[in-house]
């Protein structure tokens, strides 16, 4: 009995303190206009989000480019390209399905227990995927670079690193010019100047990276004496990868796992078909019968994959 009275008294005291705090907060404004603006416009200016997107797109573009490069220099066996292809598809599935499923975009949709479980899953997935990616890519690079000329390798590495520069520039501008504040307190809008400057620099750097890639490719071809035939075969492989991506993204969109714009799929399909048709044209004009046959069958596969992907995209019921 005494115990119960004591407990009630203790808990009443806690409740009284809580109510007192509530009363004291009554007259306080607490939240400022600046805080509200920062919250509402932050999603447009989130540097971390930009960096994450850059990494995802970097992975999407970088792996096929790497495969093409390796194929061109005969640094990649059929087994190698299958392994890389599997890795690439796995990374797509990981990023667009598993991570999205465990991502806590809306904190109001889950109860606390579920959120904690999801967060634990998310961290675990990111950690394991990071380790696996690092090992796969490291082994791949090591085996690929053996025997390739130093100059071409350096250009290739610079080209890859340069893709991260726009994000870094934007971060530096906001960090040092605006003391880390991505929102202009006077207008409540994201920093226009920073964004504009960063995009100009970004496009320039992408162009430089593209040029370097071409230079590295040509240098490598001259040095290793590998002709256009291998390059054309490499392009054929790339087109198949792009078409497979259209199919995969279309299927995921249909199942509601991701949302992809139809325009993106159409653009990818057009790129794949145009590249493959060019290869077929070049092969026919040069009388390379074997490649012509191969490319025609590739072209048909690409058309089939793309059509199927686009059809699946259309079938989603929203």
């Amino acid at each position: 009995m005494n115990e119960n009275i004591f407990e009630l008294h203790e808990l009443d005291e806690l409740k009284a303190s809580y109510n007192l705090m509530d009363e004291r907060l009554d007259g306080q404004e607490i939240v400022s206009d600046e805080q509200l603006r920062e919250a509402m416009y932050r999603k447009f200016a989130d540097i971390r989000q930009n960096a994450k997107e850059a990494l995802i797109w970097g992975d999407l573009i970088f792996v096929p480019a790497m495969a093409w490069w390796a194929w061109t220099y005969s640094r990649l066996t059929l087994l190698g390209i299958i392994i890389l292809g599997v890795y690439w598809v796995a990374s797509l599935i990981f990023r667009f399905v598993i991570l999205r499923r465990t991502k806590k975009e809306d904190y109001g949709s889950y109860d606390l227990k579920t959120l904690v479980e999801k967060e634990a899953d998310y961290s675990k997935n990111v950690k394991y995927f990071g380790i696996i990616s690092a090992v796969v890519l490291l082994v791949f690079f090591l085996q690929m670079f053996i025997g390739i000329s130093g100059k071409a390798v350096i250009i290739f590495i610079v080209m890859a690193l340069i893709l991260m520069v726009p994000v870094l520039i934007r971060w530096l501008i906001i960090k040092f010019k605006y003391n880390g504040k991505a929102i202009d307190p006077a207008t409540g809008q994201p920093r226009k100047l920073g964004g504009k400057v960063a995009s100009i620099i970004g496009y320039t750097l992408f162009a430089v990276a593209g040029c370097l890639f071409v230079v590295a490719t040509v240098m490598g071809m001259i040095e290793t004496g590998i002709g256009w035939l291998t390059l054309l075969k490499g392009i054929n492989g790339l087109t198949l990868i792009i078409a497979s991506a259209v199919l995969l993204l279309g299927a995921l969109h249909k199942r509601g796992k991701i949302t992809v714009s139809r325009r993106l799929l159409v653009i990818l399909a057009i790129i794949a078909i145009a590249l493959s048709a060019s290869v077929a044209g070049i092969a026919t004009l040069n009388g390379i019968a074997e490649l012509t046959k191969l490319t025609v069958s590739t072209l048909m596969s690409i058309a089939g994959f793309s059509a199927l992907g686009l059809e699946m995209h259309r079938m989603r019921k929203d």
Binding site: F6, E7, E10, L11, E13, L14, K15, A16, S17, Y18, L20, M21, D22, R24, L25, D26, Q28, E29, I30, V31, S32, E34, Q35, L36, E38, A39, M40, R42, K43, D46, R48, K104, E105, D106, Y107, G108, S109, Y110, D111, L112, K113, T114, L115, V116, E119, G180, K181
Partner: protein, 159 residues
């Protein structure tokens, strides 16, 4: 300002005390409160468009605030720049008797595990057990037994 932004501003201003209270009990110092407050605002805004009133605004605000604070305190990661709150610093100081009482409450609750902290705050807010269960993801029976254990723990702190 767009209509949705006006609605959001109105809702946040209405429930500012709730958000502040959660941040206060999940923080280690005043700067932490400001950081947490900003993170909660960001997450409220992210989810505001999807919030269709399936639950009451009060329950939704509690859920987002608790989820954000628990999650951040677990990882101790800060994503936003600190913006000072518009609050009289004297309100929460322990210079008078009332302030000391609030400090005592803070000291006790702050020693609990994050999950228990969330449950006891909802209990102090006089929420029903089923409402508490819906926010933290436990059955009513589990909330009852957990609250009993938390109260025992709080009691032992005073001894």
């Amino acid at each position: 300002m767009k209509e949705i932004e006006l609605e959001f501003t109105k809702l946040v201003r209405e429930y500012r005390k709730t958000i502040y209270t959660v941040c206060y009990f999940f923080s280690d110092n005043p700067t932490d409160v400001e950081d947490l407050f900003q993170e909660v605002l960001v997450n409220l805004w992210k989810g505001f468009a999807k919030f269709r009133g399936e639950s009451s605004p009060k329950t939704w605000i509690w859920r987002v605030s608790l989820n954000t604070c628990c999650n951040i305190e677990r990882g101790k990661k800060r994503n936003v720049p600190t913006i000072p709150l518009v609050i009289d610093k004297g309100v929460m100081s322990d210079s008078d008797e009332g302030g000391k009482q609030i400090k005592m409450l803070y000291d006790r609750i702050n020693r609990l595990e994050l999950f228990d902290r969330a449950i006891i705050l909802l209990w102090l807010e006089s929420m029903r057990y089923d409402e508490i269960g819906a926010i933290v993801g436990l059955s009513t029976a589990a909330v009852t037994s957990r609250l009993f254990r938390i109260k025992e723990q709080l009691k032992s702190m005073s001894n």
